[in-house]
Amino acid sequence: MKYIREFRDGKLARKLAGAIAREADPARRYHFMEFCGGHTHAIFRYGVQDLVPDNVEYVHGPGCPVCVLPVRRLDDAIELALTENVILCTYGDMMRVPGTKQQSLIKAKAGGADIRMIYSTQDALKIARDHPERQVVFFAIGFETTTPPTAVAIKQAHAAGLRNFSVFCNHVLTPPAIAHIVNAPAQPGEDPVRIDGFLGPSHVSSVIGWAPYEPAARDFGKPVVIAGFEPLDVMQSTLMLVRQINDGRHEVENQYTRVVTREGNRKAQSLVDEVLELRETFEWRGLGSVPHSALRIRDIFAEFDAERRFAVSPKQSREVKSCECPSVLRGVKKPTDCKLFGTVCTPENPMGACMVSSEGACAAYWTYGRKREASRAVRDAVA
């Protein structure tokens, strides 16, 4: 397919692999955090790790929107879904994420809650228009990429006087999370996370541009390369990071020039700014409370804020004991370091969010990378 296959070309991949192998200093290790789940997915689906030398290692970051949502917010969404007369609209990935006591939206649905899987905020608006007698709540999650459509939906609902539509807003921001990861002290009993550079967000950056990462690169001395989601993008960005480190540079570079500019999409930014504002602080799964890292609905659109329309009760939310999702999301541990991985926690029966989404590190490990050694052995046997 035009403009897709070109970015998955095996010959070019081998050329890039050769360049990375030549330029990576065998005397040192390179730890690169790929921020987005889309990168994680590409690395595993195409076997990128097989093509880079052993001393270049990918550390999986927190950029999976489903994974970083704390259990308490999910519990709140489940409560909203179970509220009389409510239709909860959600992106499909959220359905199977386990909340407290293994409750989930899919279980709530089986128990009678009216939960609709949607692909776009426009679907949620349509459901609200089609069911004026019901309260339709859109469960908004995601980074800067999914935020503009939420803002548009709220503006449309406002313009149409749609009184039965509201948004449970959980949108989070990327640059504060990157700053938090490099800056946060190690948790008790954990080694500090080792990161030499970042494969920066791709689609997020198409909205916010690459300028917002400049403080992190400058202040923390970590190079950032904005990287596309195709496997060749990941490999080229890896080479760019290796070069920066070898040169002692720590800049923001843009590999994804076909989509991302320094300024980003100004129109989308101003739309978001019109409807949403910074929260003082927001809890992330794995990262804890991160100041100025999320958005809420502005007062002038308060009537569309589900948090204000419905009184969700305070609750004792708990993740599964010994689930290592939080450490995996910080890049401190690998999925295989978790006792639950592949034993009690599998995609069929996920204990933590990272096993649910195809962008989650645990699911990617399980689906594509599991028993890598065994698969290598089989391949060698065939060869």
Binding site: G47, Q49, Y368, G369, R379
Partner: protein, 345 residues
Amino acid sequence: MTAADNPKKKLAGVVDMTHGGGGRAMSDLIEKLFRRHLSNPALDQGHDAAVLDRPAGRLVLSTDAHVVSPLFFPGGDIGSLAVHGTLNDVAMAGARPLSLTASFILEEGFPLEELELIVKSMAQASREAGVPVVSGDTKVVEKGKGDGVFISTTGLGVLPEGVAISPEAARPGQVVLISGPIGDHGVAILSKRENLEFETEIRSDSAALHDLVAEMINVDPGISVLRDPTRGGLATALNEIANASRIGFVLQEESIPVSPDVQAACELLGLDPLYVANEGKLVCICAAERADELLAVMRAHPNGRGACRIGEVVDDPDCMVIMETEFGGSRVVDWLSGEQLPRIC
């Protein structure tokens, strides 16, 4: 006056509870719709059970429920699908299908006009396949207790002498063939789903494969495994075979046929064509030295034009399906977890 009171009047209106009540309305529905379109000597006997001659050879029996949504989709509908799905299950044992039975669960309020379209389509699929529907049943459930129409079909077939096709029969050194491009059915269904409609030329590949199978067996009666990769797609079918045969597979991504339209739709929707359903494709595992001959026969048949070789069976105690990616790496092709697309067949 309702249609039931006047047997000459064409069926119109909607299904109501009397159509399942065992009275005249039900008898009328059977007469005007089912027997009219599906007519054959066994069905026309009018028994609740069909009386059939006993064929020589081992019998193959398979049953399948169909709940596809939407009921009508590009390339087929629930009626043709209910015929093809069950015929293919019988054919994948290597058998020649002889007859079908069908039971309909109708929801109160379902338009009779649409039901007639479905029954007509079923009749056409059965005629084309040369396999009659010899017995049937109809039940009606209250509005809200069904979703229009559900159809269960059962197929009876007979196995040619010397054929020993089984999911447990794959052995290292054998090769994997596929009869054509994958993912068309799932994507065609998806393109008509509410909230998701998109413009595409993709049609379901829904087709009866027993004729293709018969020609393949003619050339190589020693075929080890046949499987139609329906729900869960090619990936799931191969994982099932790997586990049943206690072997592994190595696939070459570049050799797996996917049409550009299906590839594009999958990119857009975040689906992997390996996991998308097919209703008119088969996977064949055979001896490496028979592969070329089988491929030639498959390619000469209308249902196997796009046939190609996609991988090998290897010795692997972990029973994994590994794919060498076009990109130059390798990955595990795991079972599908959860449901990629619900209610596709």
